[in-house]
Symmetry: C2
Subunit: 275 residues, 2 copies
Amino acid sequence: MDSRQLTAAILAKRSFLCVGLDTDIRKTPACLTGADDPQFEFNKAIIDATAPYTVCYKPNLAFYEENGAAGWASFEKTCRYIRERHPGMFIIADAKRGDIGNTSGMYARAFFDGGLVDAVTLSPYMGKDTVEPFLGYPGRWAVLLALTSNPSAEDFETLRLEDGRMLYEAVLATASGWGTADNTMFVVGATQARMLEQVRRIVPDHFLLVPGVGAQGGSLEEVARYGMNGGCGLLVNSSRGIIYADKSDEFAAVAALKSREIQQEMDGLLDRYLK
Amino acid sequence: MDSRQLTAAILAKRSFLCVGLDTDIRKTPACLTGADDPQFEFNKAIIDATAPYTVCYKPNLAFYEENGAAGWASFEKTCRYIRERHPGMFIIADAKRGDIGNTSGMYARAFFDGGLVDAVTLSPYMGKDTVEPFLGYPGRWAVLLALTSNPSAEDFETLRLEDGRMLYEAVLATASGWGTADNTMFVVGATQARMLEQVRRIVPDHFLLVPGVGAQGGSLEEVARYGMNGGCGLLVNSSRGIIYADKSDEFAAVAALKSREIQQEMDGLLDRYLK
């Protein structure tokens, strides 16, 4: 899926929501505890309930790898289920991988061969060698960490370089030259929404994946105001605020309501801020 | 395993070799192609052949994840095999993970619960939140990328900060304060062996994991000269130079010879440079 197709999906659904499938088996609702693969069953229910209101799903690999090989199977089944039942949905493997050359090529194959996902999150620390192998797959994306929403983002990401830029600004400027706005996105945290203005000066055309709205406290309105571009250019993630909004057997119905609320707010923000 | 125990293992075996299990199923020798799990069978043969000459194994997760759930199972079986047949061996999961808080805790559990591995490689980009969950397991280690051996390490790792340090020096100085020399190591590439002098000024006591000796061209003698400290403080990795030294059915015997050659060089270097 290229950026034009992703924008078309956003405008058709009036939503730039990404639902984070951070599915914790310790939080399995009672009605699913007897299932063969409760993680997958939970995801299926969440996906079917939220699909009308979202354009993207983002399983975080940590929540699957915790269960070893069985968890990896749940991740794969989840991706295939989305492909079969909800074609046209964008899938991001939130893996935050970051290896080099030969090895990075292995990761690219692991995620992109067979069409499992559309995009993979990557750490930029080791430079271009990490990212390049992911850029050779038409319609697939590398999603690079730039400015994250966690407290210790200040440890390194906002360090001031001798040329006056912060490290994350150098990451945006350098890494945006490795690929194009059709195969590279950047993670920019919503807790620092004002910094989206500066981000947009450096990468006006790239899609941004914005975590940290909802449970982590960022404002969706500010993200849209400072971050939206002519093709929307935003995917805003919510995980716990949707999938664990209700912990009873009504979890899927409540997830549908929560994602619909966000979609309705996004509908208005698209009217207001789409350039 | 704490640093005292790791040093004891190194001095007992007169080796600070780490064998990288970057096991590529496309390179399976003919004699194993019919096996149920050729990746695991290859590893077993390599491990039994090289165990007398090494103190550490480092499976790189990319090579296992490429095969999805089946590959993850091969990784787990490999770790358990080392635990059972070669107790006292240090195992590093070369995963280069880097998530935050809650999610990073999931990764820590994935690798450390059940004692699967002793250490996990991590990317420092997102700061302390990434590393902290790994530091709460007695005898387990976080291995942080600092200065890597790939060409594009220059993209960000050696960027000059406004205080005159390079980024990797800030990573060493800051991250060494999060834990101790008993639960934190740093990855420092051997292609830049002279820079080990500067690394040792910042982290005199920490173990360093040094990739890039052998196939990638670094000099073992220089690594020992500039990097060794009073407890050795080095684990030097070789992957392809050992496991793919021979591609015929004699691969394990040749791997034994190659690792023995390195061990013998290390024996001499310990005499010469152990402070």
